[in-house]
Symmetry: C2
Subunit: 420 residues, 2 copies
């Protein structure tokens, strides 16, 4: 147990722990009933939610929140319907709790089974996006976990109403209301203390900007699942088909440039540069992508600014892309090793040996041949819900589904065995 | 990447990272050859190792190291042979690297496979036990990982020779010598910096006292796998068979009291106390176990001191045991919930419903029915090597085998798919 946690917060954490015990014993049907009650309440409570949201929006505008942040903070009837739909999609997913991971019978007759169990209490620290409140609470509930939420203070009024609605919904189906809690009232200090609450909180998930994630990773004493940035590369090998190269690079960059699985840097094999650089860069330019290219690429496509060392290190999160011509696969892998955040890396090639080398030697959560990096996504992978994409190597790596919100427990059944 | 790491240490960490890349691509046969070279070198290098060890022992005696610590620090021909044997046992284990965890083909034809890959660089911080140097280096090598070792300064001379011998052995079979490194020369500061080396070190394993583990868990910015203390309980249910109860409790307490899976507290159902307490406590007393008992138990066995609140919270690590009579399973579970370190918990019962409730409701890495808690062990579970027993819920829980020293990577094979 840790110290220096405010008394009121300790009470909430203890209550969450107690609720988590009941939740872990609740059946899938009971937890799904809780989720359905939440979905129904979100749909029917616009009269409570939207005025609270309007208050946050008014404060936000007064405090000069950017248009983008105001948009993320905004709820309306259509978005509430979307949230309810998302909760129902979570209901439809298989419950990971109780799955048998492996088992054996030992020579002495002991029967071993490793089964999935909920973590217990999941903490979440995120920014002013009220949808994340519903999202994390629902994912936690589906996987049998209690959740303690610290949302951005700019969404405090909205979150307070949302959590109350969730708690009422839980209570209405006989589940403990303390299973979902907000600690927004403790402000910034609450987030700090949540990170110190080892023994109370089993795992902490930061969601939001890289800055927020870095802070949580650096400060937290509670184990963290890190969902990190993506400095994602696409490498066009000598044997890449031209049209496939164009399609994949444009899709990886343009389809949704503001997300972590969008590509930032294009690497092209020198021997195919004459063939590939002009059409690929022309296609990108036609989609209004601003190009930062090295000297060799600019010889083949003049409408690009010189790429800098800094460009290679950042997530543009915009219609900007770096382009570099490399001597061979080794140089491509070396570049990726240097700049990759180990999220997603792709090669476009028709050479079997080059493909296998890329898959084996590139160290990333997801490595791809001949596919758009935009496929690194829980939904696309068939996991249903979007918990996030882990860029750490411990516990979860890559798109995280409900399974990644569980731990395991060994069950040993004996008939009186003792150790000799 | 992190800052504030001494230049020489950064060099070592960079070299370990580079070596880890080669190691991850090495075949099982190559890594096994490295292990065999290490085993052979440990056997044939007594002339180098024992004088260095003698130097550490002399320093230790001068610094007043306890007999126990001196014993743990001591190497001799027999212990070297034991170490070589342990390395060969690791060779015999299956290689987890490359195992396919799961996979699927998506509706769009993308083929997904999740495969086991090494973490990369494993850091270890441990106390003055030279066997741990061989142990961790070998487990890391088998699982395709480089290792950076910070042993206790009291074993510095021994470790320096051991690591040199390991490095020479690696080189002799064409593996990178930097794959195993000691940072002992950086002293206490080296340990601190290893804990800050996020981006260089993928996972940090503390091995040793609870104090050491707590420090690493508290300070480390690198993800930690925690192997924690065991405040382990055995609960004798109303229906427990008397002889089975005696055998399991005595084995759980007496067979090796200094380890984490030894039992600390005995809980007995009130309705069976008259039948069970006298023979079980007499059997414990016959094995020289000092008993700390509550009032109800002392009425049935006078030769016990009153148990205190403190007794319930500590790992005795000795022939001492707490005894408490409880009203029912609920009270037993409540006691366990309050004092357990979530390592191993056991019930002795012949009542099916009580057994199932105990297994479901007690939250621990290992829960048992009718078996000695001493079975919580990687070797006993059939994992072969003893990495430790994790008491955390993230990544690994319970006995850890080689599998727990790996991460995973998603491989996606496409034919030009893009996201719509």
């Amino acid at each position: 147990m840790t110290t220096d946690i405010a008394l009121g917060l300790t009470d909430k954490l203890e209550a969450a722990r107690t609720a988590s015990i009941a939740l872990a014993q609740a059946s899938t049907a009971q937890r799904d009933a809780g989720l359905e009650a939440i979905a129904a309440a979100v749909e029917s409570s616009a009269g409570d939610i939207l005025p609270a949201n309007e208050l946050d929006l008014a404060n936000g505008r007064e405090n000069g929140l950017s248009t983008g942040l105001i948009d993320r903070l905004t709820l309306n009837e259509a978005r509430l319907a979307g949230l309810a739909k998302a909760v129902r999609e979570i209901i439809a997913l298989p419950d990971p709790v109780g799955d048998v991971v492996r088992g054996s019978t030992l020579p002495n007759g002991l029967q071993l089974t490793q089964v999935r169990v909920p973590f217990g209490v999941i903490g979440a620290i995120y920014e002013a996006r009220p949808n994340v409140t519903i999202d994390i609470a629902s994912l936690a509930l589906k996987s049998g976990n209690a959740s303690v939420l610290r949302g951005g203070s700019a969404a405090e009024n909205t979150n307070r109403v949302l959590v109350r609605i969730i708690q009422d919904a839980l209570e209405s189906v006989g589940l403990p209301r303390d299973a979902v809690q907000t600690i927004d009232e403790f402000g910034r200090e609450g987030a700090t203390q949540l990170m110190a609450a080892r023994g109370y909180v089993d795992v902490l998930i930061p969601r939001g900007s890289q800055n927020l994630i870095d802070t949580v990773v650096r400060e937290s004493k509670v184990p963290v699942i890190e969902t990190g940035a993506g400095v994602v590369h696409v490498y066009l090998d000598e044997s890449a088909e031209t049209q496939m190269a164009v399609d994949i690079v444009v899709n990886a960059k343009v389809q949704r440039p503001s997300v972590c699985n969008a590509a930032e840097t294009l690497l092209v094999h020198r021997a195919a540069a004459d063939r590939l650089v002009p059409p690929v860069l022309a296609a990108l330019a036609a989609e209004n992508v601003q190009l930062h290219a090295d000297e060799r690429a600019r010889e083949l496509h003049v409408d690009a600014v010189p790429v800098t060392e800094d460009d290679y290190t950042i997530e543009h999160m915009a219609l900007e892309m770096n382009v570099r011509v490399v001597d061979d696969l080794d140089e491509a892998i070396a570049h990726i090793r240097r700049y990759s955040t180990k999220h997603t890396e792709a090669i476009v090639t028709n050479d079997y040996a080059q493909a296998e080398r890329f898959l084996a030697e590139v160290d990333a959560a997801v490595v791809m041949v001949n596919a758009s990096t935009r496929f690194t996504d829980g939904g696309e992978f068939g996991f249903g819900a979007e918990v996030g994409i882990s860029t750490q190597k411990l516990h979860a790596r890559g798109p995280m589904g409900l399974r990644e919100l569980t731990s395991t427990k060994w069950i040993v059944r004996g008939t009186g065995q003792i150790r000799g």
